[in-house]
């Protein structure tokens, strides 16, 4: 009974806040990385996550998709209680979180379409008609619908990144975690990718994006989270 009430409570909260962390302590293995983290992300929010290498951004991401256990504090994401995640919950949670990471690249030995279908099969899709419909939808969303038959090496860096974004959208995620998605791109292509991501967030998918690119952050203003002094803040570090 208590369980079902708390589940209902989570569900109600998740309609308002997609992600809530309250006084959370983030660990990587047995090392405390971030302490007393509190933050809220609503549906359709776009947040930059800013901080130096080693400041805990990746550990935060890992906690959000259930790779690091939340040991202390309250956290809920897309209806899941982060401190009570079971092995059964993890695959379900991860389908609701799209990721765009540099080490999560496209498979180079198959076409863009086949890359999309690979992820669909890996996440339990089996109806061919539905798969094809979704494939067209995600490629259309990133303006790549005419390029699905191409191999990754036949595409530009920007187009490959668009395809990676399309792949992250397959399971209609509620949140996208992006780790420097414009890292290896030229300024003009970076701006195009930013416009695309902002557009996706306007349609209701929240985005939390790690970036170090001051020019982009100024050009495309959005909410910001700063990672420093082993915690997360809404304002930048001030030098005393």
């Amino acid at each position: 009974m208590l369980d079902s009430i708390s589940h209902l409570e989570n569900k109600i909260n998740s309609n308002i806040n997609l992600l809530t962390l309250e006084n959370c302590f983030i660990y990587q293995s047995n090392r405390l990385i971030l302490q007393d983290v509190s933050l809220k992300i609503d549906k359709g929010d776009f947040f930059y996550l800013i901080g130096k290498t080693g400041s805990g951004k990746t550990s935060l991401f890992k906690t959000l998709y259930g790779d690091n256990k939340l040991r202390k504090g309250k956290g809920q994401i897309a209806g899941f209680n982060l401190s009570k995640l079971s092995d059964n919950d993890i695959p379900k949670l991860r389908r609701k979180i799209g990721i765009i990471f540099q080490d999560f690249q496209l498979l180079k030995d198959r076409t863009i379409n086949e890359n999309m279908l690979f992820v669909m099969r890996a996440t339990g899709w089996n109806n061919k008609k539905k798969m094809n419909t979704r494939l067209n939808e995600v490629l259309d969303a990133v303006k790549m619908s005419t390029k699905g038959y191409k191999m990754p090496h036949e595409l530009s860096g920007g187009e490959q990144q668009r395809a990676a974004i399309a792949r992250s959208l397959i399971n209609k995620p509620k949140l996208i975690l992006a780790d420097e998605p414009t890292g290896n791109l030229d300024p003009k292509t970076s701006e195009e990718i930013m416009s695309l991501l902002l557009n996706i967030s306007k349609q209701g998918t929240s985005i939390l994006m790690i970036s170090h690119d001051k020019y982009l952050i100024d050009k495309f203003p959005a909410k910001k989270l700063y990672c420093y002094n082993s915690s997360i803040f809404h304002s930048p570090e001030t030098v005393n």
Binding site: P91, F104, K108, D109, V119, M151
Partner: protein, 290 residues
């Protein structure tokens, strides 16, 4: 001009060296051929090649592995360009050397050619290597760099060398490729194939494949190897938390698949699954030893 370097290991290289010698002489270039036996148990009268001009045949009684062997060959080389050729190769193109020579003026580029497997196959106990090579490796649309045969400027080679710490078999060329790519050197594929004749017996090929995967797991801790297919596929499956299912299926059917792979007619799909399953299982136990 060109130092042609052949690491030798338990293989008859006389035919290969004679063909290189013939081609190099016919185009009248300054060249040398250096062959070093890497602690081979059998040398197949390879010493006869030292009767040829410009050929230096050295026997190293200790096995030092492919990485250190290539570094040693480069150290011994006297010309500015190095052409490495694996010993278990057969030249099938009369202009093989010429095609490389024609590229010598292009700086900051590493040239490499393809690998071909014979059309017909006679033996029953080495079909897996042959079938995989013929149907998968040599049919890739994007020609992946392989150290089977490649040409590099000596000064570029000397900036990084092969990693001497890599003693075991496998992926030393992937590390070499990635390090050169990071330094912005270009790679160019040449339409210049060599026949790969050192086809391993099925059981040995599987053993070597596993060794190479073990090596990959160790190397990926030290180098960024995120562009390797098996690593990428495992990342995707791990993220969606289904690598566990894969490991379960692999563990349950491992013996059955092994039986198929060592048969006369092994399945390539089964082999690819076997490699992925082995990698996922090993990686899991590497991360969580208990």
């Amino acid at each position: 001009m060109l130092s042609i370097l052949i690491p030798c290991y338990n293989f008859n290289v006389r035919k290969l060296v004679k063909e290189i010698y013939k081609q190099a002489n016919s185009i009248n270039i300054q060249y040398e051929i250096i062959c070093i036996e890497d602690g081979s148990k059998k040398t197949y009268f390879n010493s006869k090649i030292s009767e040829l001009n410009n050929v230096n045949y050295i026997v190293n009684s200790r096995n030092i592995g492919r990485s250190q062997m290539r570094n040693l060959l480069a150290e011994k080389a006297k010309y500015d360009w190095l052409l490495f050729i694996d010993c278990d190769s057969e030249i099938i193109n009369k202009n093989f050397i010429l095609k490389y020579i024609n590229k010598i003026k292009h700086c900051n580029t590493i040239f490499y050619g393809g690998t071909q497997y014979s059309i017909k196959h006679k033996k029953n106990d080495n079909t897996l290597h042959w079938k995989y090579g013929k149907n998968v490796e040599s049919k890739r649309k994007k020609k992946i760099f392989s150290s089977h045969h490649f040409m590099i400027e000596r000064k570029i080679f000397n900036t990084i060398n092969f990693d001497n710490k890599i003693k075991k078999y496998g992926h030393e060329d992937t590390v070499f490729y990635n390090q050169l790519k990071e330094r912005k050197y270009k790679f160019q594929y040449l339409d210049n194939t060599l026949l790969h004749i050192g086809i391993e017996k099925n059981k040995n090929y599987i053993k070597k494949t596993k060794q190479s995967i073990n090596n990959l797991i160790e190397l990926k801790e030290r180098y960024n190897l995120s562009n390797i297919k098996i690593i990428k596929i495992n990342k995707i499956l791990s993220y969606f938390y289904i690598n566990y299912i894969l490991i379960l299926i692999y563990s349950k059917y491992e013996k059955k698949i092994y039986k198929n792979l060592t048969s006369k007619n092994p399945s390539i799909i089964a082999f690819q699954f076997y490699k992925l399953g082995y990698y996922s299982k090993k990686l899991k136990s590497f991360k969580n030893p208990n």
